[in-house]
């Protein structure tokens, strides 16, 4: 009986019709998935082709699918919040529920949507752009993905089991500490982020080594496609920023579970230190999700303006400068903490300085279009919409950087408007642009242009209608994270909600487009869909698992553009040699499944289960250490057959 009481009162989240609905749909979807897989006898296929794969392309696709699912969840959260703020009197959500929703919205969008989406694109594209057959450490790459996937699962589990975290995605202490916030909810946040953070760090190392060591012969650093450059810089930021998050999360976990006093009110702990550590990681994190988007836009604008990128070197150096500055601006997130004139002045100025390299990039994109011949395909539309929207986000960012004025903007909808203008116009547009741009390479057919444009216009107009009014809400004194509003903020909130609905329609059309294109789009017969310039377009579509039959020698920037001029391909029959490829492995999946068990134990403070899970993780590491599997060779004959089949349509 006691056990059942526990299940009903503490374990499962009860009392919310919305959550019951979610539970039912989770159960139904799970049953449906199990049924479909069993009915079509696809379990073996799932295990062999996906769960154990170390192929960067498949891992990239899994990242993107997971990110889209998370975008859906975060988007539903956003719609629920907009509904509540439009009908504040209706008690659609109570304060507690609203708090949980904005917390999960923020966390999911940053950690489980933006980053995996971009990492998915990097995974698929970067090895192709540099002429490599995989990333440097394919096993580690699989491990990264599964750590993200299980981390996301842990975090999302809180929704139905134990309760969602409700301390905001920033989780400021002491509010998020054990005393003021008891129970497993906040632990889900800490452990979920920790587990997926491990994977992100590994991804960072992986890409640095890949880009440094696996480039095609002749591809000097200054000949790298700009998206690869942005990945490289992003990876550096990841490697040097994520350990800070790891430590911060660990410290709060130890505080909550083992009774230490880092961020507590008792024992002379220092709650502000959490904010400090969080933003030491958090600010570089912003650039982790924005630089790859910059890279995507650069590729697309250059391709569709049919011109070389304007100021390639300046583009690279500006990213380097942004990466450096990103580590010395974090205090602007808490100017109002009262650290005094010197601190606030210093961080005001460093923050504003970031506008300079960013401005350089904006003008270089405009320069790329100058004397170009611009086509307006969907990827280009997303990239073009990015420029004005991001400029609005950027200049308001400069306004926020002015500490004295920030005292009035801080914690208001002005801030909310700013970072959505930056993160949606930058990251989300970037993801959509990148996905539609590389979609034919990934799946062998384009996304439907007409639907793509419909979705684009709905989303972009909706985005502006939703977030532009929020600047004014900030001036009108509306604080963020409030579940109810004053009457004088009503009109603007209703406007914003209309915008949110338009965005939702845009997203729905986007997802429908995936289905529609799968059914009806014309299959690609040619690897070079958009008349591209970088090496990923040199392979056939679909890309063979070894990527390149022969790796071309690179003679300058824009490798593929040159190859087309010289009539060369990545298949030079006489030069084909056996290709060495890594073997698939189930260890990453199993290891992270054990990690999942360990995490679940830790979240509920069931230390026995946590230790058992941890032993499983360690055992997997030992197994891996003794694994001397050296991969396999693809025979010349197989390569020739594959290439012949793939290239039939081309001639």
């Amino acid at each position: 009986m006691e056990f059942i009481d526990f299940l009903l009162e503490d374990f499962f989240v009860t009392g919310q019709p919305l959550i019951y609905g979610a539970m039912v749909s989770i159960v139904l979807v799970s049953i449906a998935i199990v049924f479909v897989l069993s009915y079509f006898k696809k379990w073996g296929w799932l295990w062999r082709e996906w769960l154990t794969t170390v192929d960067h392309k498949k891992i990239g696709i899994m990242y993107i699918i997971a990110a889209l699912a998370m975008l859906f969840r975060g988007g539903v959260d956003a719609l629920l919040m907009r509904t509540q703020l439009t009908l504040p009197g209706m008690e659609f959500l109570d304060s507690q529920h609203y708090n949980e929703i904005f917390t999960t919205h923020g966390t999911i969008m940053i950690i489980f949507m933006a980053m995996p989406f971009l990492i998915g694109l990097m995974n698929y594209i970067v090895p192709l752009q540099i002429g490599a057959r995989d990333v440097a450490f394919p096993f580690l790459n699989a491990l990264s993905f599964w750590s993200f996937a299980f981390g996301a699962m842990i975090f999302n589990l809180s929704f139905v089991i134990g309760g969602s975290p409700d301390a905001g995605w920033t989780s400021y202490t002491p509010m998020a500490g054990a005393t003021l916030n008891p129970g497993p909810a906040q632990n889900y946040y800490l452990i979920g982020l920790q587990v997926s953070g491990i994977g992100t760090l590994a991804t960072g190392i992986n890409f640095i080594v890949t880009i440094l060591k696996m480039r095609a012969p002749g591809m000097k650093m200054m000949r790298l496609p700009i998206f690869t450059w942005s990945t490289f810089i992003t990876s550096i930021i990841i490697v040097f920023a994520f350990p800070i998050l790891t430590v911060a999360l660990a410290l709060m976990t130890i505080d909550r579970i083992f009774g230490s006093h880092f961020f507590t009110l008792t024992g002379e702990g220092m709650p502000m230190m959490w904010a400090n550590l969080f933003w030491l990681w958090g600010h570089p994190e912003v650039y982790i999700v924005i630089l790859p988007a910059f890279g995507i836009f650069s590729e697309i604008i250059s391709t569709f303006a049919r011109k070389q990128l304007f100021g390639y070197k300046a583009m690279v150096y500006s990213m380097v400068v942004i990466a450096g500055l990103s580590f010395v601006v974090w205090v602007h997130h808490f100017f109002t903490m009262g650290a005094g004139g010197a601190v606030n002045s210093f961080f005001s100025i460093t923050t504003m300085l970031i506008a300079v390299p960013t401005g350089v990039k904006i003008f270089n994109w405009l320069g790329t279009m100058y004397k170009g011949r611009i086509r307006f395909d969907t990827p280009m539309l997303w990239s073009l919409a990015f420029i004005p929207c991001f400029v609005i986000g950027g200049v308001t960012g400069v306004m926020l950087a002015m500490a004295a004025a920030d005292y009035q903007y801080h914690n208001t909808y002005f801030l909310v408007a700013h970072f959505h203008y930056v993160l949606i116009a930058g990251t989300v547009f970037g993801c959509f642009a990148g996905l539609t741009y590389w979609y034919p390479k990934m799946f062998g057919h384009k996304m439907n242009e007409k639907l793509g444009k419909i979705s684009f216009w709905f989303f972009v107009i909706g985005f502006n209608v939703c977030f532009f009014p929020m600047y004014f809400l900030g001036f009108a004194g509306m604080p963020r994270r409030t579940y109810t509003i004053e009457p004088e903020w009503m009109a603007l909130n209703v406007t914003a909600s209309i915008g949110a609905i338009l965005m939702a329609i845009g997203f729905a059309v986007f997802v429908y487009n995936i289905y529609y294109s799968f059914r009806y789009s014309q299959r690609e017969t040619h690897g070079d869909t958009w008349d591209g310039r970088a090496l990923e377009w040199a392979t056939t579509t679909p890309v063979p698992f070894y990527n390149f039959a022969t790796v071309p020698k690179i003679e300058g920037p824009e490798a593929y553009w040159r190859m087309k001029e010289n009539g060369r391909t990545t298949y030079e029959k006489e030069k084909v040699e056996p290709i060495h490829m890594p073997s698939d492995s189930g260890v990453p999946f199993v290891m992270m499944a054990f990690m999942f068990i360990a995490s679940f134990g830790l979240i509920w403070e069931w230390i026995g289960i946590a230790i058992a899970g941890l032993i499983g993780v360690l055992a997997c590491m030992v197994i891996r250490s003794f694994d001397y599997d050296d991969g396999f060779y693809v025979s010349v004959e197989e390569i020739k057959q594959t290439e012949k089949k793939a290239r039939e349509g081309e001639q």
Binding site: S95, Q96, N99, D166, A167, Y172, P174, M175, L180, P182, L265, T266, E268, P271, K307, F310, G311, Y312, A314, T336, M337, G338, G341, S345, S348, I349, M352, A355, G359, F363, G367, M369, K371, G372, R373, I374, I387, P388, V395, V398, M399, M402, A403, A404, A405, Y407, Q408, N411, T412, N464, F475, A476, P479, R481, T482, Y483, W489, A491, L492, T495
Partner: protein, 309 residues
């Protein structure tokens, strides 16, 4: 592509359109209509930055529109206009690095000056000593202690006009942020430390004040009213509180600290006699007394004792 012009126009019109909507839709932009010197200097800084930023936005938008209109792929375009090998221009790149640097400098100077200005009491009332008010928060209410007057109020505040108020900010539990948008910017309240915030009202009136830093389920109701009145009215209000309000006993104060919402109250003594949450000794005062109260979910409905159910 033929209606690209129209689309671009529509696009450019969007912000303007929503601006119009705003002006008609919403009453006042409190931050841009401040009632005291602190808010005033912040407003000046904001307006200055908005003007500079609008210039930048205008330049980029015009250049952007020019590019996508002039260089779009359309039938009958002059072939000479297309230069696929054009890939940079050092002079231009230097220009658009240096100009932003100048703009940043132009923004930095007034910013730094204002930052330091706001660390001190406003100059406008330098002839008078600032009125010291200890503003302490506990989930989810505000305590205002006037040590010189030896009175304390809960969830509302009386201040004299034309005199600087020196807020001593601290918290008994979670981090909060005292913000009275009509008077000026905010600062954090934190347990175990003390922040100083200077504000001043030049116009009499009632202003909204609130905690703007999210701190849990009572956050939306964590507000207070500021009554700014002339020196005389203020004095007589102080007298009235002194004479009519009860003393704040430690027992009473301890029970007020329990998490929950509270109505407006006043007392003829301050809690500073028992504890100053801004000091190292006072930082865990509330936790020691109300640790268990956070274990149960609170159903807040407002008013006294609502948190106790």
């Amino acid at each position: 592509m033929k209606n690209i012009y129209l689309r671009v126009k529509l696009w450019a019109a969007l912000p303007a359109l929503s601006l119009l909507l705003l002006v008609s839709g919403c009453g006042e932009l409190t931050v841009l209509d401040p009632k005291g010197p602190v808010g005033e200097s912040q407003k000046d800084l904001i307006i200055f930055s908005i003007i500079l930023m609008l210039i930048i936005v205008a330049v980029v938008f015009i250049a952007f529109t020019y590019m996508i209109v002039k260089y779009r792929d359309r039938p009958g375009r002059d072939e000479k206009d297309y230069d696929p090998d054009h890939h940079g221009n050092t002079t231009l790149e230097i220009v658009w690095t240096v100009i932003p640097l100048i703009i940043v400098t132009a923004l930095s100077i007034p910013t730094v000056i204002t930052i330091y200005e706001l660390e001190e009491a406003p100059e406008a009332s330098s002839d008078k000593e600032p009125l010291v008010v200890y503003a302490t928060t506990a989930d989810w209410k505000w305590f205002f202690s006037y040590p010189e007057e030896n009175i304390e109020t809960v969830n509302y505040l009386h201040i004299p006009t034309d005199r600087a108020i020196e807020f001593r900010l601290s918290s008994a539990d979670s981090m909060a942020s005292l913000w009275i948008p009509a008077l000026g910017g905010q600062k954090y309240n934190m347990a175990g430390m003390e922040n100083t915030l200077y504000l001043q009202a030049d116009e009499e009136g009632t202003y909204e004040g609130r905690n703007s830093n999210y701190n849990g389920s009572g956050f939306a109701e964590h507000t207070f009213e500021v009554h700014a009145e002339n020196e005389e009215d203020f004095e007589s209000w102080v007298e009235k509180v002194k004479n009519t309000a009860p003393e704040l006993t430690q027992e009473e104060y301890d029970s007020l600290l329990a998490p929950g919402l509270e109505e407006e109250l006043e007392f003829s003594s301050t809690h500073l006699d028992y504890v100053d949450h801004g000091t190292n000794e006072g930082r865990d005062y509330l936790i020691e007394r109300h640790k268990d109260a956070f274990e149960e979910p609170l159903h807040l409905k407002g008013g006294r004792g609502a948190g106790d159910e």
